[in-house]
């Protein structure tokens, strides 16, 4: 299987999915960022809380400012393709928003930016595995696993941007380019906060102290620069810093001696301690992967979050640290979880641009009798948690490369 073969099919599959699958989040994000260049709104958080239209439609924007400015700038760049009706479409909340003949153009052009970051992530995986005989297989795993097609091309979530930046940060760290590695991680955090969890592992590596200080300062510095102009805004604090999304990892708690402790935080601290002892045996990225797998096994997560983990799994597969069977179980249990999630926009509703008939198809959970739906939800959730924990154990025990 040649690289050209992989790239051709990767592009073809994405070109077939991107224009024809729709998730409302893509439209909603671009509805918010539209204010940037249509009205010059810089503080979207304050604006959304005060404007009567946005209040009426209960709109908010729970992502950091860099996401808003990046997507806003991208929307501005492609505005000649989107055309003059685009703004009206982003504000259409009716069941007939899929009927516009321009919808394929909107979806395709809005998702192109994600395709670019997905391709670049593939390039990094390929480069990181330069000494591996399985690098082409790992690249195929990255491009041909259904999770990528589902999250990036069908749903169209921007999570691939921080994912790419996290992998880039790791790549640059390996190449001993500490400063730009820190910049890259800081920029990733400025899109979504989760890569902040990788920071302690970088700081515990065997690299010299000066490098670590440079890395820490650049990472936190670039993040601080992007949020400082908004830090005093109460709306920003509520919608981003202390939003449900940011604090969700603390939700699952256990009680020890009358004190409540977050399960994730306990496991995470244990993982950091484990890294201290195993850092010469197990590569850094494995601990990023384990951190993310622990998130998925301890909290209710959004479907797009899974993409944070996939590049690291592809790397682990390329280095024979996990076999395809486990990754296959992981992906299957992920889809079982979301098939029975009860949100039709995560499954059949994605096809609504093709025909609104797909909105008439009841969610798959309806095939389960009403009394057992909660049980089914718990079962699929638990199944995925168990498979995620199995991946964690497998990654920790995986063999070292020859």
């Amino acid at each position: 299987m040649s690289i050209k073969y992989i790239l051709f099919w990767a592009i073809l599959l994405r070109f077939l999915v991107m224009p024809f699958f729709f998730h409302p989040d893509l439209k909603d994000h671009h509805q918010r960022v539209n204010y940037l260049f249509s009205q010059g709104i810089l503080n979207i958080y304050e604006f959304l809380r005060k404007d009567s239209y946005t209040k009426e439609h209960n709109l908010d924007f729970s992502y950091p400012p860099l996401t808003y400015f990046t997507l806003g700038f991208y929307q501005y760049l492609i505005s000649p393709i989107l055309g003059k009706d685009f703004q009206k479409w982003t504000r259409d909340y009716s069941d007939y928003r899929y009927d516009t003949i321009f919808i394929f153009r909107y979806l395709f052009s809005l998702k192109i930016i994600y395709l670019i970051f997905e391709m670049l992530t593939g390039l990094l995986i390929y480069k990181l595995l330069s000494n591996s005989g399985k690098r082409k297989l790992a690249l195929s795993l990255w491009f041909f696993n259904p999770v990528n097609l589902y999250v990036i091309s069908a749903i169209g979530q921007f999570d691939i941007i921080p994912t790419f930046l996290s992998v880039l940060s790791y790549f640059l760290w390996i190449k001993k380019k500490t400063f730009i590695s820190g910049l890259s991680l800081g920029t990733a955090i400025a899109f979504k906060t989760y890569p902040l969890l990788f920071l302690p592992f970088y700081l515990l590596t065997k690299s010299d102290l000066k490098n670590k200080i440079i890395f820490l300062l650049t990472t936190l510095g670039i993040y601080a620069v992007t949020i400082l102009p908004f830090i005093n805004s109460k709306e920003f604090q509520n919608d981003v810093l202390f939003s449900g999304l940011s604090t969700r990892i603390f939700q699952l708690k256990i009680s020890i001696l009358n004190h409540q402790f977050s399960v994730f935080i306990i496991l995470y601290l244990l993982l950091i301690a484990t890294y201290w002892f195993l850092r010469s045996k197990i590569p850094l990225y494995i601990f990023f992967a384990i951190t993310l797998a622990l998130i998925f096994s301890t909290i209710r997560f959004h479907p797009q979050w899974i993409i944070w983990l996939i590049p690291f799994l592809a790397l682990a597969y390329g280095e024979s640290r996990i076999n395809l069977k486990f990754i296959g179980f992981f992906i299957i249990s992920y889809f079982i979880y979301f098939i029975f999630f009860g949100d039709s926009f995560l499954m059949t509703g994605l096809l609504s641009p093709m025909s609104t008939l797909y909105l008439e198809i009841p969610p798959f959970i309806k095939i389960v009798p009403d009394n057992y739906q909660n049980l089914m939800g718990m079962f699929t959730r638990s199944l995925f948690a168990v498979v995620s924990l199995t991946v964690v154990i497998k990654l920790l025990r995986g063999k070292t490369p020859a």
């Binding site: 050209k4 790239l7 051709f8 990767a10 592009i11 003949i101 153009r105 259904p146 059949t348 198809i361």
Partner: protein, 194 residues
């Protein structure tokens, strides 16, 4: 691994057809342009006629407006054929949102294809200040969708794919951009030595 992308390609092409097998209803008449709102209350009813494009008419969805959800009076939906009521539904005004799609579902009318039906919306106890509205286009045609139980799954799948292709071809700019981008990327992949 070599055949996985080909398998994915086939899945992407056929999965929409397989999903349609789970469909219980198909869309018949559909008019979603809206330009104004007409009101009905007391003795002033709303009346509209349409020809059913499919057999097995089973529900009608209209976009109704209950300003600030004030109205809590009985609302009647009457479906007539040749001036005779064939289906009647009574709902409460509180079930109608401030501009929401409201579905009137009834037992199927088997031989509905090409037959002319009249919808009458009335609310005799409603006063003018709590009048209910129906969204229409500028020619007073309501925002309406009719649903029918499919007679042939194969025909349905073929219709969905045909309409899908027609919708793609309707946006020439999209088709052009897609072809140019895809062609250029394939050419680049072919010409670059990797």
């Amino acid at each position: 691994m070599k055949y996985i992308p080909v398998i994915l390609f086939i899945i992407i092409l056929i999965i929409p057809a397989i999903i349609l097998l789970g469909l219980r209803k198909e869309i018949g008449l559909k008019q979603t342009n809206e330009g104004k709102v007409l009101f009905f209350y007391g003795g002033q009813n709303y009346r509209f006629s349409f020809v059913s494009p499919q057999e097995n008419l089973v529900s009608v969805v209209l976009k109704l407006k209950n300003i600030s959800i004030r109205n809590t009076k009985p609302v009647y939906f009457n479906l007539l054929e040749n001036q005779k009521t064939v289906r009647q539904i009574q709902i409460n005004g509180s079930n109608i949102g401030d501009s929401s799609m409201t579905r009137f579902a009834f037992t199927k009318i088997k031989d509905s294809k090409d037959r002319k039906y009249t919808i009458i919306l009335s609310s005799p106890k409603t006063k003018k200040d709590e009048a209910l509205g129906i969204h229409t286009d500028t020619l007073n045609h309501p925002v309406i969708v009719t649903y029918h139980i499919p007679t042939s799954r194969l025909q349905l799948i073929s219709d969905v794919y045909k309409n899908f292709v027609d919708k793609i071809l309707a946006d020439k700019i999209f088709v052009t951009i897609w072809l140019i981008l895809f062609g250029s990327i394939v050419l680049i992949i072919k010409s670059v030595s990797i």
